[in-house]
Amino acid sequence: MILLIETVARRYVCRQHDVDSVGLATQAEQDERGRRIMRHHLGPLLDPADPPASGRLHALTINLRRRVVELVVPRVDLLAEAPVIVPLAPFLTARLRLPWANGVALLDDQPVIVLDLRRMAADLALGLRLAHA
């Protein structure tokens, strides 16, 4: 199953199995197991031109062993029909600073980047960011 993620300025998709839960964003600092929650606005992490969202926000939660990463976005939807996903060209993949994108889906004839949220969460927990962030 594929999730369509909308930030303020862009759309992305991810595989649902990369995400442990989706719900309304909270301000909690720890989860019920005492793990620290690292909360980030997804849009500006990926694109400096994408501002942080405000208002009613959703969190995509990825549980790691010692941390929980919450990626905050304005909107998340489950796509009724899985789009065709093609891998990124190898020469493009090889040039990515961090391997957070691993494919392209076509939605309404527009390319939408497929995110590897589990890899992204693991990198964020290690303090890794894209150069602009």
Partner: protein
Amino acid sequence: MQSSPAQPVSTTEYLMFRVATERYALASTPVREIMRWRAPTPVPGAPPLLPGVINQRGQILAVIDLRLLLGLAAAAPDRATRLIWLHHGDIDAALLVDAVDDLIPIDAAHLEPPPANLTGPAQRVIHALFRHHDQPVAMLDPAALFALVQEAA
């Protein structure tokens, strides 16, 4: 009077285009299509040289900014900006150029070696020169272009 046997002529069509103030050409064989510019979808973490991907009739193409690949300053797109769909080996990509001029046949006998004083990326990707209306046109090697994209910092 004897007629001399016809000399074989090796003529290839080349697509001429502009990047900044320079004129370049690519053999038409790897050129699939010429497209008007439209904003590519950015790929998080990709370098400015690769500003994103586009969908051209179901084919996802990574865009390569030829200005940046050649070490020139970036420029905002305008009405003349074009994307050239290149297919070479197993790679498809869209080359971002400032303008596309013409498709012209060129006799191989009119090609000149590249200047010896070329440096940097130009030295890697320019494999010949020819003169069109007395103006030099640099001929690009698509294999060298793609190799440079994979190596460029």
